[in-house]
């Protein structure tokens, strides 16, 4: 939808525009970006996932060597019997007040799982019904484009890859995070009911491996969260506000054909 020459290299075209006789005056417009439902589900997910991780850590504590009662092969970084680092150190649990709280962690985890799961399910349903999935699902050249976005973000590549509402890297990230959410629910069910749902547990590589997956998916969320927050901070206020208020301000020249580069993020 964006004008190629304007959006891909605005710095070089702007002087041309100002040099011409009567450039069309840019008009500030308010463009809808994120629907109300998406915004609520996005922000609701933030405390829900945070509390799921908080209660999950209380459960892990009971099974981690540091501070807990049992060492477990899952909550560490290492290969085979060689361990580089154990998750998590005593001080981590102590500082966050997560020690000796297995029962508390379980009761919160098995209460919040409903809210987390329902919110996630509603998001997926809404995305499909509203058609928003078209903006989110990566296209055929997504991997190549995402690589270009990556290089551009690191200032290793000058041209910004063309994009719709989201760039290819965003599409991949936002799709993977939903798949990860589904993975968390499936691996969670597999370790919540490993006997009643033993077919699922077996399908996921067994009780121990399902726990491994459940744990590292969560670590993936933490990594996603950090990168996400950094990217949002870089993208700026206009982008952030769109996730709260739903709209973004764009510079449109006569009828909104040309879009200012600042709305690209």
């Amino acid at each position: 939808m964006a004008d190629e020459t304007l959006s891909t290299n605005p710095e070089s075209t702007e002087p041309d525009l100002s040099a011409s006789a009567q450039p069309p005056a840019p008009i500030l417009t308010l463009r809808e970006k994120h629907p109300l439902a998406t915004r609520w589900m996005h922000w609701l997910n933030f405390p829900l996932l945070g509390l799921m991780i908080w209660s999950g850590l209380m459960i892990y504590w009971a099974d981690s060597e540091a501070g807990g009662m049992h060492s477990h092969a899952v909550y560490r970084i290492g290969i085979g019997s060689w361990t580089l680092f154990r998750l998590f150190p005593d001080a981590f649990y102590d500082k966050l007040g997560l020690t000796f709280s297995l029962a508390k962690g379980l009761s919160w985890h098995f209460f919040l799982m409903w809210l987390f799961g329902i919110n996630g399910l509603l998001y997926v349903l809404y995305t499909f019904i509203s058609g928003a999935w078209r903006d989110l699902l990566p296209g055929r050249h997504a991997l190549r484009d995402a690589w270009h976005v990556f290089l551009h973000d690191l200032h290793l590549r000058r041209e910004k890859p063309s994009q719709g509402k989201y760039n290819a890297a965003q599409q991949i990230a936002y799709t993977l995070i939903i798949l990860a959410g589904a993975g968390s629910i499936l691996t969670g069910l597999a370790i919540y009911k490993p006997t009643q749902l033993h077919w699922l547990t077996t399908l996921l590589g067994g009780y121990e491996f399902a726990r491994f997956l459940h744990f590292w998916l969560t670590m993936g969320y933490v990594v996603f969260f950090v990168i996400h927050v950094i990217q949002v901070a870089i993208a700026g206020w206009n982008n952030f506000r769109a996730m709260v208020a739903g709209f973004e301000l764009v510079q449109a020249t006569n009828g909104g054909a040309g879009l200012n580069h600042e709305e690209q993020r």
């Binding site: 029962a103 508390k104 209460f111 208020a245």
Partner: protein, 318 residues
């Protein structure tokens, strides 16, 4: 540039300008303000819900809404799975030879096995049995003083004559029922199974159990049926000293893999593993596998459960 809707413009920094974009900016400010306000109300609502949950009366040391959620989850699980599903079984070669001992609450290491009796309460037609007693609570479990002397950390409650002190939760009135010996349990069909014992703390072990099905026991010693004509809804088990106690739904008790277990790896239970008789129910976590059964009772009301009183789920099915 003119795309200057920075946060400070929320507070009217651009008042009075004549720019045609001002109307748009004003609209943007209005919507932003409204959305942040809605967000704040939402956040306050969540925080309020959090405070409300924490402020509710506790049931078994868990705020009532969370306790109801745990019970709701158990109802869903029972509705979906019933007691149809079987826990996976393993070849005997997978069973560990040295089974882990984890938890000794209510376990009396000095219990005299020759003075052990299983108290069974709330049975139908109990008075016609030769094992009938008008009050099974008169039975005195006793400790072996020589074993007691070896370890002063033993978790038992013994009076001056070596009899167990069983005051914890002892019913006020007499309870009629049967007093059975191990012979009665061994007379039931013997079954062996190799299943995984899962601890709620996270570890698990494959164990080779031997004993009698609790369902066979219940058929041999049928509980009294209430006015509804069905089996009572719950089975309660307690240790001789009444320090540890669990409750099971009847469908869990009737599950073909729920055993009154008296053997591990073909050998009689050691005292650490709950001699002479313990519960094994592989659809539940280890905390339901009560060691050293002293009494079995039946009721429609949910029997007390040690770990439920200590903030865990009542059902503990997995």
């Amino acid at each position: 540039m003119s795309l200057d809707d920075e946060p400070q413009s929320l507070f009217g920094a651009n008042e009075g300008a004549k720019d045609p974009d001002d109307a748009v900016r004003a609209q943007a400010r209005r919507r932003t303000r409204r959305s942040f306000l809605a967000g704040a109300v939402g956040a306050a609502g969540l925080y309020g819900a959090w405070r409300w949950i924490l402020g509710r009366p506790e049931i078994g040391q868990v705020p009532a809404p969370l306790r109801h959620a745990l019970d709701f989850n158990a109802d869903i699980s029972h509705a979906i799975f019933g007691n149809r599903g079987l826990a996976p079984t393993f070849p005997i070669s997978h069973a560990v030879s040295d089974v882990r001992v984890n938890g000794v609450i209510g376990l009396d290491p000095a219990l005299r096995l020759d003075r052990w009796c299983l108290q069974v309460k709330n049975l139908a037609d109990a008075q016609n049995s030769p094992h009938y007693f008008a009050n099974v609570n008169i039975w005195k479990y006793a400790d072996d003083p020589s074993i007691m002397a070896q370890d002063d950390s033993l978790d038992t409650y013994v009076d001056g004559e070596g009899n167990l002190d069983r005051e914890n939760g002892l019913p006020k009135g007499p309870e009629p029922g049967l007093l059975l010996t191990m012979d009665a349990i061994r007379a039931l069909p013997h079954v062996e199974m190799v299943t995984q014992l899962k601890c709620i703390e996270g570890w698990s072990e494959v164990v080779h159990w031997g004993g009698a099905r609790l369902s066979d026991f219940i058929h041999a010693y049928p509980p009294a049926r209430g006015a509804h004509g069905r089996l009572p809804r719950y089975v309660g088990l307690e240790t001789p000293d009444r320090q540890y106690y669990v409750g099971l739904r009847m469908d869990d008790a009737m599950h073909p893999q729920t055993l009154l277990c008296y053997e591990i790896n073909g050998q009689p239970l050691s005292i650490d593993h709950g001699a002479p008789l313990r519960l094994v129910t592989p659809l539940k976590y280890g905390i339901k596998h009560l060691k050293q059964i002293g009494s079995i009772s039946f009721s429609d009301a949910r029997p007390r459960d040690y770990w439920m009183e200590n903030a865990y789920d009542y059902d503990e099915g997995h």
